[in-house]
């Protein structure tokens, strides 16, 4: 509905300035109404989805044993929260997975950034290692998880390792690209101003590559979680991945869904933290037009 139609009835009697004030108020109302509408629609989609699932399951349209239903998933999460899981308390499982993912992520990011910038800056290294990096990247790295299990055992080390290999490549390629695509004018300017090679790397190349690197950090934390979970799924003593595998082993489909829900929440919180950090780091960047 156009905002004018709201202010028009009053406009006849009122003077011009208050007319304008009325109009801007109406506009603000329209904005609020739209936000409400969007959020309402979002909620509706969720309720519809969960409701249909529950209803189909109860009515027997879909097999309850295989597909479970939201109320059972909720009960399962509640049981885990209140009474703990088969391997110990829920918090312990979440923390185990998070810790593995975090270690893997930090190591993978550090290695990716370091090597990416080194290869992006030193042509010789790029020429020598380029083909090997390509070969490694072409491999489906998730199949390395069983090998890591053999190498590093059931403990956290094997999960960290599979997280590292998943995180490394996207970070590496972005850092490499970032170091390569530095504005040549900026480098020339820094050199004229008296910067040494080292200073160019640390004060020009790395700052301008950070926005590239940060894009990959978002994606790669998700990868780190995948690495940790898959590692746990294959063989572990603790963690969300083990919970999925135990639930699957006992044909507890609600347990699988419940673990997935917990994972999604954990991943979203981590994503939120990263976005917050990014905003603080990139104050020098102009706000994107249209972004909120």
């Amino acid at each position: 509905m156009p905002p004018e139609s709201v202010s028009l009835p009053a406009a006849g009697a009122l003077a011009k300035p208050s007319d304008a004030a009325e109009r801007s108020k109406a506009r603000a109302r329209a904005v609020r109404r739209r936000a409400l509408l969007v959020n309402g629609a979002r909620l509706l989609v969720l309720v519809l989805f969960l409701g249909l699932w529950e209803w189909f399951s109860r009515a027997g349209v879909i097999d309850k044993f295989n597909f479970s239903m939201p109320s059972e998933v909720y009960d399962q999460i509640r049981t885990w929260v209140m009474h703990g899981t088969a391997q110990g308390s829920l918090a312990e499982q979440i923390w185990a997975t998070l810790q593995e993912a975090l270690y893997g992520w930090v190591i993978g990011v550090a290695a990716g950034v370091l090597l990416g910038i080194a290869l992006g800056r030193v042509r010789f290294l790029a020429d020598v290692f380029g083909p090997y990096v390509k070969i490694l990247n072409a491999m489906p790295r998730i199949v390395l998880a069983p090998i890591f299990l053999i190498w590093f055992g059931l403990g956290p080390a094997s999960k960290v390792a599979s997280a590292v290999v998943l995180v490394f490549f996207p970070v590496f390629f972005n850092a490499f690209q970032g170091a390569r695509e530095v504005d040549r004018n900026l480098v020339a300017n820094a050199r004229i101003l008296g910067a040494s090679n080292r200073q160019v790397t640390f004060q020009v190349v790395i700052p301008s590559a950070t926005s590239w690197i940060f894009t990959s950090l978002h994606v790669s934390f998700g990868f780190a979680l995948i690495g940790a979970i898959v590692g746990e799924y294959i063989g572990a003593t603790k963690g969300l991945g083990l919970m999925v595998s135990t639930a699957q082993g006992t044909f507890n489909s609600a347990g699988v869904y419940a673990a997935m829900v917990i994972l999604a929440v954990v991943a979203l919180i981590a994503e939120g933290l990263l976005t917050f950090l990014e905003k603080r780091l990139f104050r020098w960047k102009p706000a994107e037009s249209g972004a909120r």
């Binding site: 004018n185 820094a190 050199r191 004229i192």
Partner: protein, 271 residues
Amino acid sequence: MTSNTSPAIELRGAGKAFRTPSGALHTAVRDLDLTVERGEFVAVVGPTGCGKSTTLTLVSGLEEPTEGEVLVGGEPVGGIGGNVGFVFQQDAVFPWRTVLSNVMAGPRFRGVAKAEARERARDWLARVGLSAFEDRYPHQLSGGQRKRVALAATFVNDPGILLMDEPFSALDVQTRALMSDQLLDLWAGTGSSVVFVTHDLEESIALADKVVVMTAGPATVKEVFTIDLPRPRKVEEVRLEPRFVEIYREIWSSLGEEVRITRERGAAHAA
């Protein structure tokens, strides 16, 4: 500087050829002979894309000549000298540094202590009228303000040789005149030698002691004109003087021909 008698910049038969991505050899400049005396303001004009900027990169040490010699202060250029300042055509301020930090960059790169660098940077920011903006980031400034940051960042290093590559070409006409005046003011106190590349003949006459006209590419020096307009000048006023118009006509008769050649070549390419 080894001796005080040698000119600030000397190019002797200098030439530069690039290898294009397709493998062909492209000659940007050839047989360049040019002398810039100490404290002299030289403007280089020529048709668009003729290789004027290459001349500057040779003097700065960013590129090496493929032929001939380039001497700065009587010594052949080997790498980037500490005595050179360069103002680029595009924005070359660091977007992640604040205005103050940008101006401090040069002295900091050269190992000046932080406190002293800050003091010198503040001094130059005051001279370009940006003291109130020292905490801003470049994206929060206008194009003209960013250019002034670039000028302050260059002058703070106290360069004996100042190279400028169409520094004001991206600015609107009024800002441009303002910046030209400001440049003359800043330069007046330093005694440095300037090479100012432009395709704008008016700008070059208003600013320079000597105007060098380049041929259509591959560029070489066609003619050199001495500008005998008295200093200090105000660019908006000086261009109305009869002597200015006279000089303009004289140089344009030389430059116009090269511009026409370039234009015809462009048309031939398009056809």
